[in-house]
Symmetry: D2
Subunit: 326 residues, 4 copies
């Protein structure tokens, strides 16, 4: 195999607020500064950019200059459909005017995808869902979830749209909550240019096996992208990849290699209290451990063990490869 | 609406073992005794029977006599595809001979369905799945999960098969783990006589909204049955329905009534340390509270609140109905 | 029993940001506006105030005027030991200078407690803990957690300090994570003026029985305060009290009444997408349902059932009282 | 450091039943056979024995012979206080007669401890707790939990008693549910011969950091024993140690070595569908990886990183040691 290409969501290099540290976990970082930090990692080929930019005066040309000097391409554009205006949803907002503006914003983002020659528009409908029992008509809500995405895909047949599902947060329950629900919706919509961006951590804390989720999306021809991080299985902690669940991360990449999936290995981490450049390097260092372990792993013997569903032999092979690949 | 008909899995009236109390939570109860206990509840119209019977000498005729004297019909037959022989799976067992025997056993159960005029064969593939990372080839496992069910449905086009999905237990992860995954599989199989039996507790502890899950299954035309119980959201505790999560149970039944779903309200409870007849009556007493609350609930006002996604008003209406219906 | 007095954290009436809706879930609300909203609820006797105030020019006198015109007293002061400066901890910050400033800030808050005649300084050390395996020396961290609180209690023997424990958020793991850990620390510190503020939701999502947690704190003479809300058992959702888990809320208040605990019934809710005044009223309406249900509940019969550990009879009594008290 | 000594609960080598596979996950294994299997592992020095033996005719002498020929000592005796008779609790059973029989059974077990020169009587009160809200009087229940253990420790001042806490199962909630609760109870009882047996998996799925739990028990002078296994953080899966959460297992052993804790490294695994001897060897192979990694780990540099709470540097050191120690 050729070496993996690495990428990151540009927010990895921002600072964050939450409901307690409302003054932020550090001084604000501008988009240009964040791009320069991404460059400092020295390992990244592409980034995913939020749109619109925090600074509305920042031009696409200025962003392009910053990207070029850091040798960074753009893999995707993530329209911000989860800010105040969309607090009650983008595709499923009860107000049709807000749904319309979400559609317009995403169409704008689609143009930025074209401008940068990116791979896809990334849809992360974090505010689409519900909080309370009895709050929504589940039939209508799911209908709107599918219609909103389907309309975009129809309007932009030349582009790919990826849905990044997640169980919850900020909504107590998100509509696109799992790999199976998202595939069910995509199959119902029935358009070829809608796929899944599989976030390892979302899958993990949703109780899925990320390896199984990846295989399912691949089997449906819908694994258009992925990113990695880690968590404690109960929340989307967006910790540094590999620091808590290395075995399941290894299994995830094993499935990707076995299926000859050759997309970018992206990071979606939120290093609240850590240096963002160091956090990215640390994750990539571990991803290289995994890459070496995959080179060492005896795929044939593993397949034979899996065909017998022999957990102990399968894990013995995996451990032998992983714990000798630092 | 007419009054609901109640049912129960016959195991509700058995005694249980687990990995600690290997001598059981009480003296063994024979199937005939369990049927008589079901009759003592005084509220049940139908039962779901495991097959084969624990006592291999017990005849179908003897069972029928016991059912008749208790005025009980049979809603479904649950073949025991989760005992020692199937410890590594029924549909997905690595041994093709075991897969064959699972098929034969379920075909036998299909004949019992015909014999008793029951509604369906219930498939609960609790041993089909995996325990460890790296243990299985997820592509093959899911393929076998679908093939096993599809073969049965093809062999018995006159009967309905229902899949009771569940996140886990006894397997660490079950193949049919969620409503969306199960629907995705059913749609792929593509036969009309496969549906879902939605267990409220499985849905709840899987992180679903049971009301949303019911709506989704209905929208796909696949809600063939359901049963209720309760738990602490982290495990399939099979506690008495309504004792812990009455609001979500109420929302679940609201969705059923709104969609004019008129199947049996079944119990799937495991009263380990309680009297089983009392536990069934207590659940049914609360289901009657819910039924009265549904009669009181202002469906139009609720729909209007849900169309605005107004959680507080929707819940106010639900609370007003529920807390005055004892 | 006399009627309960109600209170609320003043943040209930603010607007919120999170890591996604960084522009907030609504326009900012000043402290004075928040106090006026608290007054509009028409049911609140006291509020808990964050300190320092968001607007540093706001005087204590101005706050007092606003409180008076809304007939509100102050039950506690919550020093903001979880903002940027304290992102790596207040009591356990690795920087002794930051620990010193935390101590000073809380001593300032103690003076505000005296100024308003409030009941306690509330310590919510949300940033004290760890995120990653291997990150901290657990011996030293816990030592610092106890020392920081003990120093404050020694410096201010005339005042009460309450610790509001919580499993996690914003830290991946908080030092004061549970009722038992907090009591263990308090007993070790060994001072009489440190107690617990029991947040129902923190207890619930930490896997405790809030009723058991309350009893334990009472038995140690340390239940100095409490507040209520609701969640889905997996996160501190701070939803409207009673909307999801009414039974456990009822059991919690049963324990309080049985022990003749007569403190304020406070709200700690974050109505991100709801009107804050309506959300407070809705919670209080339900707390009144519970209060009426407690009046109806047969305490003697319940005690007899509990002495037999007869879950079904105990719950039957609870249901009879609760579902007829709207 | 000298090399670790390994041990195992003898049940590791039994077969299991659960509520579904009531015919067991394999043919029954006698105690003598289980001891011979323990011997076949070739790495075990001690075992923990359940008492009374399944076969009541089996003599202590016969057991001793089997142990000797396998070079096995006895580390502890686990009285079976969780079978049918104790289904509603041992120490907290509502029936005083059952509580008395529990005391007698454990006193019998104490004599077996003396007979074999074992280290302790192990108390695992899995049936002591509650299932439902409102079921118990929490004050009385906790009182009985402490009194039952305290009485035993007073009756047998020459012996050590260890409490193995666990969040739940088979009870929906166990009284001794966490390290802090158990320490709080032990301190209240106030006797020197009661300690904790820390099960890594119980700690993990209870939301604790096992490393922190170990440190806390050590700081209270109460870490009398430990055992390891793994799970998916949501249930006591008793999987092979190290297969899912190697990092936290490594941190756990780092804390033990740092504190010079030199007890036995025990296994508490339930290999339902795996060969038990292979499962034990696989765990021990990984524990040896950890032991080598501890030899390599730079304790001083790690302490410096922890003193700064520098998660990334601390983890870098841990990863460097672990992933090169196969």
């Amino acid at each position: 195999m050729s070496k993996p290409r690495f990428g990151a969501g540009i927010w990895h290099f921002a600072t964050y607020v939450d409901r307690y540290a409302t003054d932020g976990y550090g001084p604000p970082v501008s988009l240009i500064e964040a791009i320069d930090k991404a460059g400092q990692v020295g390992e990244l080929s592409v980034v995913d950019l939020n749109y619109p930019f925090v600074d509305p005066k920042l031009s696409l040309d200025a962003v392009e200059v910053a990207l070029k000097r850091n040798n960074l391409g753009v893999i995707g554009i993530t329209p911000e459909i989860y800010t105040r205006e969309f607090a009650k949803g983008a595709f499923t907002n009860p107000d049709p005017g807000v749904r319309r503006r979400a559609n317009e914003l995403i169409n704008d983002a689609a143009n930025v995808v074209r401008r940068f020659g990116a791979d896809y528009v990334k849809l992360w409908p974090g505010q689409d869902g519900w909080d309370y029992p009895f709050q929504v008509d589940h039939h209508k809500l799911w209908r709107m979830s599918m219609d909103g995405v389907g309309e975009l895909a129809s309007q932009n047949p030349d582009l790919k749209f990826v849905i990044e599902y997640k169980p919850r947060e900020p909504r107590v329950h998100m509509s696109y909550d799992s790999v199976a629900r998202t595939l069910l919706g995509i199959e119902k919509i029935g358009l070829p240019n809608i796929g899944i961006l599989l976030d390892f951590g979302h899958s993990l804390y949703g109780g899925e096996s990320p390896a199984d989720a990846a295989q399912l999306a691949i089997d449906h021809g819908r694994l258009f992208g992925m990113d990695v991080n880690d968590n404690m299985r109960g929340w989307d902690d967006d910790m540094v990849a590999g620091t808590v669940h290395p075995i399941e991360l290894f299994e995830f990449f094993h499935v990707l290699r076995k299926n000859k999936w050759d997309g970018v290995w992206q990071l979606d981490q939120f290093p609240f209290r850590e240096d963002s450049v160091t956090a990215a390097r640390m994750a990539i260092d571990f991803l290289k451990v995994i890459d070496r372990a995959l080179d060492k792993l005896d795929f044939e013997a593993l397949q034979a063990a899996q065909d017998r569903q022999d957990a102990l032999e399968a894990l013995r092979l995996a451990q032998a490869a992983l714990y000798s690949s630092y």
